[in-house]
Symmetry: C2
Subunit: 449 residues, 2 copies
């Protein structure tokens, strides 16, 4: 079987045939960090207005109480649970990022696994194994379609995430290769999501559907519902519909030898990734400023041209647009000494002191500065100035989030929207997931008693 | 507002602002025929293996019994009901066809309306009005993307059907223009479906999702869940993602003056549209053959080259592939004097007499023959021959299905899979839908007592 024909089946064979012993320790460790980050982000997002509205809309159609919603007391059928947990884990823009594709893999892939664990039972190893394979499938399909797929307007977290969702759920169901192939086929025909939706609540529908519909696809396949075997590579298949730049070999080459989850990063701040080094610099500067911060006269940021292109946004309307505003990020980091969820709310945007400082922030392109670096200069009212140069922002490949930083992030998320959670116990449980007989235990720890 | 900017909003304004008195009598009549054909097709499809499997898979997640499934005793939440009725109405390839796009508009659009009528109440006029507008929205979006959208591999019934589903459901909910715009935005970000899936059960997931997710989008919009306002025409919006040949003017030009439902046709036979004149000719020939039909030595068909390209298929594996087989269609029409649902089942394919006659059918291209015409010559064992030339096959633009033929089709569908239905009463009720206070009455007539 070549890389150009039968890639859907080849991917299905790999997922269906994978053994736990085949997963290297590095991938296992990153899988655990991915699950931890997922649960944390969902604890932070569960109180968001969009999630409350989604529950309001969907609850009249809720099926039996098979599965929980992280951070909330409602329970529902596995499909609605998958939708809501995915939307919640992604809604704050705080979830993981597969750096080669800028996809957020965990939000679609993980929820269906936890829902299945609650409804049917699954061990920690089984869930972790399926999660790692799901991330692998999503990211490989994404790799094959980049860059045109995203550039044209496909919201890759949703459009490619659904392949991982179906693969992971199918793995937990122990689908044979034929049925795994069908699960991927059902994923392909349901793939959807537009970049145009970003910045509106509608984004959450795309991410939620990737979780729900991928899981649905695996359930249909399990029952013998047939699909196109060449759903990805076929003449009228997903690849040709989704991108003008297709390299199907990226789906199959190095399967089992190279692991995409190792390219998965965790955000230190719930905002655009290009802002990370800027915020790092501002937090460092704040510690060096000995006068009151209202003495800041001006802030000058130098960075890669992409920084200004994506985030030069002095006017911010709400918390959502603040997440892509250089000016807002600088202002909160210097004034509050933090750039967490609380600093990207509508209330933080309306804070007069933050507003005033936003107006004093300017940015300048410097093509010699890499995208993961930035230089920030603060000029004080007395004429003096301080400069900070960050070469590798936290959460970028040269400076990944440490375990301690990840734990602190989970703590921050829970404190923001789910303060009832025993966070140390939850973190310990997830870190020890390989010895957990019942993976649903994690869900029970993540909802109110 | 020009046709190039704000088309999503312009379409939303039109749908939200439409008054019943604005709908011309011709469109009302065709809307009723469309609903009748929809209910008939769902009565025929409700017993299909794919529908049974889908209910098996989805029923563990069924919500409250808010809505029915045509021809079946199960009841479920409105979203699952929309999915299942859409899949059922389309599964036999017997549903309506919007000739300019070859889209099947009713299967996605109608189910959500009947589900809402059951759950919330709606008059016959309200439902019919919403249905006509939904078909309008689906077909106009499709017109704007043809021909590249379908040619590349998008299953247009699903990918564009979802716009009509959202518009129609939103109309029944009386959404204001802003919310109608959001409903269309939620539709855009959920648009999915691959031509590659045709020929497998997976096709039904695409059509079912178009019904479910369009309805979901309208429900989200009703609750204030925001979407991209330029979801169709935006820089990263649906149109640019979906097609390389986009003419947005086709969405907005002539709105309210030209009605797409007038280009909607109904199939006389549950098979490929190019086969209609061939079957008509065979049915006419059968009446002229005075010897036993086993005396047929050979059948020669002449037609437009598209006929052979799409349907020259002497070997047929099952009922599904028989629907695109010239040889099978000719054989059953001559042998059985019919080409209905029962003649395109696995059992009909396996019939030895049909098999034998299939082997004696040949086809020849004749570019001078239009696609809606065909010439069939039967040579008998005694050396004599009979020829029939059909210029306009039933169900083609020059020879649309009459009301009487449509009634007979509904009868055939119900007899095939839902014989308990009082078909004359059901047909009378649908034809009189404009005077019906409670449109859910139709659903009650279409399920077992």
């Amino acid at each position: 079987m070549t890389a150009q024909s039968g890639v859907t089946r080849e991917l299905a064979d790999f997922v269906a045939g994978s053994q736990w012993r085949d997963i290297p320790a590095t991938a296992r460790r990153e899988g655990i960090r991915g699950l931890l980050n997922y649960v944390g982000c969902a604890l932070g997002g569960c109180g968001d207005e969009a999630i409350g509205l989604a529950i309001h809309v969907l609850s009249p159609s809720f099926g039996p109480e098979q599965a929980g919603i992280i951070g909330r007391s409602e329970r529902c059928d596995v499909l609605n649970a998958a939708f809501l947990n995915a939307a919640s884990a992604n809604v704050l823009e705080y979830d993981d990022t597969h750096l080669p594709t800028v996809m957020h893999p965990a939000a679609p892939v993980a929820p269906g696994l936890f829902a299945l664990a609650e409804a049917r039972g699954a061990s920690g190893v089984e869930l972790l194994h399926a999660f790692i394979l799901g991330v692998e499938a999503s990211c490989r399909v994404g790799n094959a379609l980049m860059p045109h797929h995203y550039r044209r307007g496909a919201h890759i977290t949703a459009t490619c995430g659904i392949f991982g969702t179906a693969a992971a759920a199918g793995k937990l169901m122990e689908l044979d290769p034929v049925r795994m192939n069908w699960a991927l086929g059902h994923a392909a025909t349901q793939s959807a999501g537009l970049v145009e939706s970003l910045g509106s609540m509608s984004k959450s529908i795309g991410v939620g559907n990737a979780a729900r519909n991928g899981l649905t696809g695996a359930l249909f396949a399990e029952a013998g519902f047939t699909a196109a075997e060449s759903a990805i590579e076929g003449k009228y298949g997903f690849a040709v519909v989704a991108s003008d730049t297709v390299d199907l070999g990226k789906i199959t080459s190095g399967l089992g030898a190279e692991w995409e989850i190792l390219a998965n990063a965790y955000k230190p701040y719930p905002c655009g990734v290009v802002l990370f080094p800027v915020i790092d610099a501002c937090l460092a500067l704040r510690k060096r400023i000995t006068v009151p911060v209202d003495q800041i006269a001006a802030v000058a940021v130098r960075g890669h041209p992409l920084l200004r292109e994506r985030t030069d946004r002095p006017e911010v309307a709400d918390g959502r647009s603040a997440k892509v505003s250089l000016q807002h990020s600088v202002a909160v980091a210097l004034l509050k000494g933090a750039a967490g969820i609380a600093q990207f709310t509508d209330a933080a945007v309306a804070d007069p002191a933050v507003q005033a400082l936003r107006d004093r922030v300017t940015a300048e392109d410097d093509p010699s500065i890499p995208v993961e670096a930035a230089v920030v200069e603060v000029r004080l009212a007395d004429g003096s100035s301080l400069t900070e140069h960050v070469r590798d922002g936290r959460g970028t490949p040269g400076r990944p989030m440490s375990d301690i930083e990840l734990d602190a992030k989970v703590n921050e998320c829970a404190a923001f929207a789910a303060p009832f959670v025993d966070v140390p116990a939850l973190i310990a449980a997830i870190r020890d997931i390989e010895s957990m007989g019942d993976a649903a235990h994690i869900m029970r720890m993540a909802v109110p008693v």
